[in-house]
Symmetry: C2
Subunit: 406 residues, 2 copies
């Protein structure tokens, strides 16, 4: 069976019921990630839609491309959140039928919290995103500021912090949420008991800074990290400009890479001379890093002297690890011609946007992945999920009903 | 039971056996994430240790702080990878006893691949990280270059790409690997069958750009993203400098935030006048974004006119979402006094490094998390995991033996 045709019933999360009471990036990404692996994910919104329904970027129609991207393949219900009776309908949806997972980024309504829901269903898994672990507010950009990376990002010598535009902490937090809930789901299958899972954005950033050694370095050494442009720390890597103004990134990880790069650029003899004269062992990764400015000066001359096409051919022939910088505009050009080459993308016809290429999951299961499916309209699945008579809800048992919005 | 004392036996991944044949960031982070939730993770290295054992940053002793950070709480075996008989011992470790998960970032040795291992154990879950989905080589910095973000990161007007120093794609890929394998573990518990899971770094980056709307925007609109410093896209947020030179990040997400910020900075009347004169509706998020330079000009004057202590007090009193920029050096200062305040950190006494604060998992399970444990020495667990007579391996059944290195 070709990868494109893996049916939902064969997906590893088929039958997993998820109710998402969330907004912005991290929690919707958690739900999206689960939906892309076969889970039945229902997003709960207030009447009229969640605040992030209008978040930029927008299509010309005003439809949020951001929202559509993060909510592909989910179902959506809308209720009057100010009404206790309406919130009760959401609780019913959660606690009836097969065991459920609740994903939330708010503790505003106690009835959607772990304590209240687990009292009704001890096998409930409850997953909560927090801004800060101490209960304070935090978003990706404030967490960035608090945790070191902007002060070492950007051109060497510059003083001002450079935030990364990619909401990296939102992304990581959403995935940690998914990891935590699937770990809890494993235990639920083995023991029948549910769990409370919490992930805070600032914990994610600090844990990552710790896991990568930045915080240990600050505690036990006198070395202070500073901005160093696009140099790769601790090894050799940098961007270069070719004679026709094309920017490329080159990374040298091993001695073999280094030897090949010298051969590719005709600099073997030059560096042998420098090694002798200056007593530098360029075969050592550490010494390549320490003497990176010297290396870069010579390489920049080579790149600046050849047009891109020639540089690309030479680098490829010598199997150098390199890449050309590409813009989003280039990736989307001509109806996404570049994206169409990849099995990652397929066409989604999103209401308000029209047909365009959208990604599947980056997780490939037995060589295949689910097709991308459109994001739901506000309250699109109210009728099937929140009927007037709560005991006759179709589809609430999950599994076979996983993809009615496709 | 206080959070600090949650025993390993109560962790959701207790009894999960993981063998990691990996290096660098993504796959070790996957293994670390599982180990922090109770899995028994064994890292396989060549004799003398993997290439990333010496990766910077280093302690004064030469011990890699990077390696220690990403391999906390694992066990380690070292074998002569060039010997078929030695590789066979690793295969034995994988296929004997309880069902196993293999995490790898290389297809160099066919006997560690999905095909060979699943022939011996159909219930094996095999997880492979690729640089590029097309089989080509790729690392975080080259994938960054290929997928748009560096060209919109950094100060407005600058031309050169700014790579993020945080290896965000490695982090996300490692977590996607963990999500994929736990999804497969769920299915294995339900059906008994194993799975092959693959994640490519470039797929992770492109999927994220798609999920956040960047690629749809490039396909269906004429809007082109450009660098805009630390402005938050589509809403109001930016960094400011106080009169005493302290840098802070401020984010305004809602109309309530906006009203409070005006009250905090005494600019309510000024913006009412501007709204009237210029016909701008500052209560609209989109209009705040469109007119962000005007807003920033006035706010920068206010911040530039007050010392940090006063600005902080005013912002806190009005419950504005803000944060001061902090360096890694500050976070690590005085033995990590700042980190010690957080339940995320605890002391690890790492050989070659000494006692320092290291993070637990950012995933909090029922209010608790495992203590951080040291990373293993090269081959530290050879004797217990790779005995001369393969049929008497103690601990290979996982579960109760999960944390001998603690």
């Amino acid at each position: 069976m070709p990868p494109e045709e893996v049916p939902a019933s064969r997906q590893p999360l088929s039958g997993l019921r998820v109710v998402e009471i969330s907004s912005y990036v991290a929690t919707p990404l958690c739900g999206l990630t689960l939906a892309q692996l076969g889970a039945d994910v229902v997003r709960v919104e207030p009447l009229g839609g969640a605040a992030d329904r209008t978040r930029w970027p927008l299509a010309d129609s005003g439809t949020s491309l951001y929202w559509s991207g993060l909510n592909k393949g989910k179902r959506a219900v809308a209720v009057d959140m100010s009404s206790e009776a309406e919130r009760r309908r959401v609780v019913d949806l959660i606690v009836r039928g097969d065991p459920c997972v609740v994903v939330s980024n708010s503790d505003r309504y106690p009835e959607f919290g772990h304590e209240a829901l687990s009292a009704l269903r001890p096998d409930l898994i409850h997953v909560l995103l927090q801004g800060r672990a101490d209960g304070g507010a935090g978003v990706d950009y404030t967490v960035q500021a608090a945790t070191g990376f902007p002060l070492i990002t950007g051109p060497s010598g510059a003083e001002a912090p450079v935030n990364h535009v990619l909401p990296a902490w939102d992304i990581a937090a959403g995935l940690y949420l998914a990891v935590g809930l699937l770990a809890a789901e494993r235990e639920r299958l083995l023991s029948g008991r549910g769990r409370s899972i919490r992930v805070a954005l600032d914990d994610v950033a600090l844990a990552t800074a710790g896991n990568l050694g930045y915080l240990a370095e600050a505690q036990v050494t006198r070395h202070e990290r500073v901005k160093s442009g696009n140099d790769v720390f601790g090894t050799y890597g940098r961007d270069f400009l070719t004679s026709d103004g094309v920017r490329v990134m080159v990374v040298i990880l091993t001695e073999r890479h280094w030897t090949k790069l010298l051969a590719a650029t005709g600099l073997t003899a030059a560096f042998a001379g420098l090694a002798d004269t200056l007593g530098i062992d360029f075969s050592s990764e550490s010494q390549r890093y320490e003497h990176r400015e010297l290396i870069s000066t010579l390489l920049a001359r080579w790149f600046g002297g050849v047009p891109f096409a020639e540089a690309a051919a030479v680098l490829d022939r010598h199997r150098i690890l390199w890449e050309r910088y590409r813009s989003f505009a280039e990736l989307g050009r001509d109806g996404g011609a570049e994206l169409r080459k990849s099995d990652l993308f397929d066409v989604v016809d999103q209401p308000g946007v029209g047909p365009h290429l959208a990604p599947k999951s980056p997780v490939v299961v037995d060589g295949g992945r689910l097709e991308p499916r459109p994001a739901p309209a506000v309250g699109e699945h109210n009728a099937e999920l929140l009927p007037a008579v709560p005991d006759t809800v179709p589809g609430a048992a999950g599994g076979g009903e996983a993809s009615p919005s496709a």
